[in-house]
């Protein structure tokens, strides 16, 4: 093979610095018929950050991620990933991104190894065998490699899905409810793996969740969505302090139920603390 072999790091270095913001979303709106799923949102992600899209059902989390992936075309606004307009030039950066969702499966009849081999080919991974062996060991799926994917438990499928999502060592990892339907132990294990990956790879992670414990554990920034709008965008600790609450879940309930706005509860909080 005479083609130049390059790492994803090399690819990143070929892109001008001004274009290396992993995600830049501007005035993004998605309307389905009479329903506005995402309503004029603007945000960007810093490199190596882990950001949670937090919101209830129908808040617009999945639609936002789908627009970032190019699966849904925005009604208006712009999505740029590593500088590329996802509506027009998704393929420029597709190799630097990966994705996992409990709503998307790998082919059930194929073995885990076959699935990973196919996706390694699709993502252009040159060191396929080594990469699969590494991920299998790291994600503890070595014993599952030759089993049909459809025969795995939910927890095992999640680990295999994660292996697929990490095959190309993505610089941007998009996750839709990464621990949905997992038992607490497996969910915790997955969160730790994601944290380790973000730290070791210097990757940027954007994940959608309505699991507050997960968001507090993983995210260094929270974008709180409700009815397609961004209601809050800050670090978990700042939000908890601003709403004078103990947990992010309480903040979430305050915000989506319109019970309080940032700083409103300060007086009551001070009084409670004083007493």
């Amino acid at each position: 093979m005479d083609e130049r072999v390059t790492t994803s790091q090399d690819l990143a270095e070929t892109v001008p610095v001004a274009e290396t913001i992993p995600v830049a979303v501007k005035d993004l709106t998605k309307v389905y018929g009479t329903v506005t799923a995402v309503n004029d949102i603007t945000f960007s992600l810093k490199p190596r950050s882990t950001v949670a899209l937090l919101g209830g059902n129908g808040a617009g989390k999945t639609t936002t991620i789908a627009m970032l992936l190019g699966l849904v075309v925005p009604t208006s606004g712009e999505v740029r990933v590593f500088g590329a307009d996802m509506a027009r030039n998704r393929y420029q950066v597709a190799q630097r991104i990966n994705f996992q969702s409990p709503y998307v499966d790998l082919p059930m009849r194929l073995t885990v190894r076959q699935n990973l081999t196919v996706y390694a080919g699709l993502y252009g991974v040159a060191n396929q065998a080594e990469r699969i062996a590494f991920l299998a060991e790291d994600l503890q799926i070595e014993g599952l490699l030759d089993r049909p994917t459809g025969k795995l438990s939910a927890g095992q499928k999640t680990r295999v899905g994660l292996a697929k999502a990490l095959l190309n060592s993505p610089e941007l990892l998009l996750l839709d409810e990464p621990t949905a339907s997992l038992d607490p132990d497996t969910a915790d294990w997955v969160r730790q793996k994601l944290k380790d990956y973000a730290n070791s790879r210097g990757a940027t992670i954007l994940f959608a969740s309505h699991n507050m414990a997960e968001v507090e554990r993983l995210a260094d920034r929270v974008i709180l969505l409700d009815a397609g709008r961004i209601l809050e965008d800050d670090t978990p600790s700042v939000l908890i302090e601003a709403y004078d609450r103990e947990t992010l879940e309480e903040v979430f309930l305050d915000v989506v139920r319109g019970r309080a706005q940032r700083g409103e509860r300060d007086g009551a909080g001070q009084a409670r603390k004083a007493s």
Partner: protein, 284 residues
């Protein structure tokens, strides 16, 4: 992960995604996926041969019966069985294309594919390549059986067979693209289209009878379909020993139009699915 970060495989080494090499790699990866799928189920493999084999037997026996009658046309060697085998090339190739695509939706894998570096034309190319490979698995044993059971040698069609085969496969891709696009846009509820679309061509493309049998007003419709020219060409060889090149050119020209329209329709439906959010709903 950091504990083993120094090992080979700790970071993916990526090949350049663009260019012909990148496209061929992704097409090969997808064809490999379909090969794994076929290998995973012996029943699928048997099913590939089962239906065309039954078809061939049914029409072969009918041909043998008619050969004993006084009809001179029926006694012409191989017209019916040739029609069956060529029709099955079109039908099986179309089914191969469509079911392989639907398989991605059944397995909820389309979201993974469409977020990977795979381009739509590469998906179409992989489906096309696979439809031919699947067709070979399906039709070669049946063609061999037709020779042993009824003495019909498909190879008697000579060089024309290659042309007929290619032209029918091209038509099947047009139909496959159209049905894949509709399913992409409207979901698995439109799956029935994938199975039934080819049958619309069956009465109009004159598989078992000449175009002249059709009413005058219907003949232009039949002649606007590429397979009609293939079947007319086949009858010309088997009944008169004449290889009518004009029929092939007509079929080729029409196929070029249908294939272009099919691909544009597929792209349009794909874009429409992205606008309507169907691709996300497919996953959920």
């Amino acid at each position: 992960m950091s504990a083993v970060a120094s090992r080979s495989g700790a970071v993916a080494v990526l090949l350049p995604p663009s260019g012909l090499g990148g496209s061929l790699r992704r097409i090969a990866a997808l064809v490999l996926r379909y090969t794994y799928l076929l290998r995973s189920s012996g029943i699928r493999l048997i099913e590939l041969i089962y239906w065309p084999f039954l078809q061939m037997l049914t029409w072969g026996f009918l041909q043998r019966y008619l050969a004993g009658t006084t009809s001179p046309l029926a006694q012409a060697a191989g017209v019916l069985i040739g029609g069956v085998l060529l029709w099955d090339i079109l039908f099986r190739s179309k089914i191969g294309f469509s079911t392989t695509f639907i398989e991605e939706m059944w397995s909820r894998n389309l979201g993974n594919l469409l977020t990977s570096p795979l381009r739509p034309f590469e998906l179409v190319a992989a489906l096309s390549v696979w439809s031919v490979l699947r067709l070979a698995v399906s039709m070669i044993p049946v063609a061999v059986a037709a020779y042993f059971f009824f003495g019909f040698n498909l190879l008697d069609l000579g060089a024309a067979l290659v042309a007929f085969f290619a032209l029918l496969v091209l038509t099947s891709w047009s139909l496959g693209l159209l049905s894949a696009g509709v399913i992409l846009r409207y979901g698995l509820g439109a799956e029935e289209l994938a199975w039934s679309l080819a049958f619309i061509l069956l009465p109009l493309s004159c598989v078992y009878y000449p175009v002249s049998v059709l009413p005058d007003w219907l003949q232009p419709v039949a002649l606007a379909l590429p397979p009609t020219h293939v079947f007319e060409g086949m009858r010309s060889i088997l009944l008169h020993g004449v290889f009518d090149v004009n029929e092939l050119w007509w079929a080729l020209g029409l196929n070029a139009i249908y294939l272009t329209v099919g691909y544009l329709a597929f792209r349009w439906f794909l874009q429409s699915a992205k606008v309507n959010g169907t691709l996300v709903q497919l996953g959920e």
